[in-house]
Amino acid sequence: MFELVNVYKSYPVHHGKDERVVLKNINLRVEKGERWGILGRNGAGKSTMIRLISGAEFPHSGKIIRNMSISWPLAFGGTFQGSLTGRDNVKLICRIYNLDFESCIEFVNEFSELGSYLREPVKNYSSGMAARLAFAISMSVEFDCFLIDEAMAVGDHRFLHKCHQELFVKRADRAMIIVAHQMDIIRDNCSHAAVLDQGELKIFDSVESAINFYKELNA
């Protein structure tokens, strides 16, 4: 189980003289195995919500209760140190999550198909290669809940299919939170949906009604 209780988040603006409220009074409860889609326009606070859920930022007030392990935003390569090799980045994750490095690197190597590039600094990678490494590392840790921010722009068509297989088919029993402004990915993969609008989260009974509401917002 994972829960946001009355979460409120604001950022100081104008040198702290004022504040911009990004999220107000967010409540969301995600049970084991549930797949949630969160829709929202640009700037609606989707990424802020993801950062709060992953624990990268703290809410201004309210509570976040995590009773399951939650992934970092998937295919997220922002944490890669350019001067480190792919292997070293895998090693960091293994140390942090207490995983066996040998089996991990084997999986990453097989899945990402990066071959000898794994021994080169990440800054030499193309963006597609970096995304493949990021996704492969994400799949080597067994989380109870996966966070997916926006459509995953991961490499070519073939690799995208592989990712889909690995995430939505092999890990069908896991909880997921998909945040996007595209409706298709949410319609295809989610069992529950909510819309983030002007800092408030509206939860709907069905995915279809959430999508309809979102369509009206954009109309």
Binding site: W72, Q81, L92, I96
Partner: protein, 263 residues
């Protein structure tokens, strides 16, 4: 609901130890790479600094009371490394690594701890190695009281921890402090017991000087090394009480700064 075994203090401490270690190893590679002498720079860099300062000051100042300038600096300057260079490193730790916070086990304070561990390790190792070299060269002697000297050094390290946490947190909170922090560090020098040992200070000012916790720690360290060869002034209870206050203030401020971390 919550798994009791996972909220256990020792279990959590285990995670933190693992995470800090992972961060230290990452930092080692990013900072020193795998080329050339690599991580040995961690020790060589401060060592070069100490030797350089010793050479310059030996040339311009004469021995006092049978203690040569080189000998005095060899057991004084290394205390500076603990708080001075670490301060510079920790100030940017949160800012430079905030993207790592997406990995849930990494908590912001671990980023600070990792840098402190790394800098302290370099400072301590370079002091230890240089000291043995200086003893073998005849510049330094064996300590008069090893236990007192070690405890004094640990007190300096303890002070440095609190000091670094406070300065690191403040520079995260205020850009002004971040900009003037190196000025603060420089102007602190007379009050650190390194360039001005307490016995050289006129008695009427000494009491005021002894209010700074760092000088108590450094004098204690000196007492352990020099013994009767140098007059030292320090109060262990006072230094411990002040260090405790600094540590507490540092942790509170760091916590406050962390709450405001923004990606």
């Amino acid at each position: 609901m919550t798994d009791k075994s996972k909220t256990n203090f020792w279990y959590q401490l285990g995670i933190q130890r693992r995470v800090v270690w992972a961060l230290v190893m990452r930092e080692l590679i990013t900072r020193f790479g795998r080329e050339g002498i690599g991580v040995i720079w961690l020790v060589v860099e401060p060592a070069m600094f100490i030797v350089g300062v010793m050479v310059i000051f030996s040339a311009i100042d004469a021995p006092r009371d049978g203690v040569s300038m080189a000998e005095y600096l060899a057991v004084s300057y290394p205390t500076l490394l603990l708080w001075r260079t670490t301060s510079g490193r920790v100030a940017k730790a949160l800012d430079a690594n905030r993207a790592l916070l997406h990995y849930n086990p990494i908590r912001p304070i671990d980023l600070l701890y990792a840098r402190i561990v790394l800098e302290f390790a370099g400072a301590i190792a370079s002091f230890f190695i240089l000291y043995l070299v200086f003893v073998s060269l005849g510049i330094c002697r064996w300590p008069n009281d090893v236990l007192l000297m070690t405890l004094g050094y640990l007190m300096v390290a303890w002070f440095s921890f609190g000091f670094v946490m406070i300065l690191g947190a403040l520079s995260e909170l205020s850009e002004t402090i971040e900009r003037v922090s190196h000025i603060i560090l420089y102007l602190m020098l007379p009050f650190t017991g390194v360039f001005m040992p307490a016995h050289l200070v006129p008695a009427q000012y000494r009491d005021a000087l002894m209010l700074t916790p760092l000088i108590n720690c450094v004098e204690m360290f000196h007492a352990g090394y020099f013994g009767d060869r140098m007059e030292t002034y320090y109060s262990v209870p006072y230094a411990m009480a002040m260090n405790l206050v600094l540590t507490f203030a540092g942790l509170v401020l760091a916590n406050h700064a962390i709450r405001r971390v923004k990606l």
